[in-house]
Symmetry: C2
Subunit: 164 residues, 2 copies
Amino acid sequence: MIGKYTKSLLLENKDSFLIPSDNVATVLYSHPLEHALLVLSKVGYSKIPVLDSSDHLVGLISLANIVDKMMDIDGFNSNVLDGLLVSDVMEVNVASLQQEDDLEDVLHLLVEASFLPIVDANNTFEGIITRKEILKSVNHLAHELEKRYEFIPRVNEIKEELNI
Amino acid sequence: MIGKYTKSLLLENKDSFLIPSDNVATVLYSHPLEHALLVLSKVGYSKIPVLDSSDHLVGLISLANIVDKMMDIDGFNSNVLDGLLVSDVMEVNVASLQQEDDLEDVLHLLVEASFLPIVDANNTFEGIITRKEILKSVNHLAHELEKRYEFIPRVNEIKEELNI
């Protein structure tokens, strides 16, 4: 469990955690793969969310997913993309969270993923939480904690230090 | 400045911060661009360090750098890569750190970059520090802090709360 003071400091920038869906590049699962390649090469994220036409989250697609598909025995062949759709190479079964989910889950899942898609109860895409925004809060936490609080070692810690 | 208790907890996993060069995929600046594309599509990082033949860090190259180069007015064209080298599209003037640099710099620079190349005093590549490893430490910090220490608000904080 994350202690209440630590949590409260980490959450002081909570409003900037979520990059809302309007500001996140996405593609439809029914888009041609070459369109996804174009979007991905321009946005500066190496992976973006894939939605259906009702804005539900259905997967993620990365530059690596697409380039991997283009590699065949003879090397690199972009003709392979002809006729393929985003749904043919996207990753499915993606970890997502709801906005009211706990900071603990956010911090835990961000160890494995560079961003987390946030959805509502109907799986409608609401935005992403990125490692970058969380690291801004971590900087804030690291710099503020001991300015605001004096740390007193708890008894078991003192015992450990004294080896008793 | 980061307080001493916070810093000490964040650094408890310090030994796992650095992913040593032997475990990091890299390319030479003189490699054909298609070779870099092959490596990048396989390694699971979207960006990797570029070295010279004496292991000095000379840049970074990403899937996006390469795919961007392949986009022309008519769309996507992999023939563009023929004859191009890593040095033709790599990013130069890359932020790097030395192992003995401060945690403060690491945390600060990782807001903008997903990993930091670590070099020695001669700019020889030693490995990378990733957001992923730092986030493991942040989880450790967040969970341990208030188990180990009791937090006492400092006087100026109490004044603020009481509006005096």
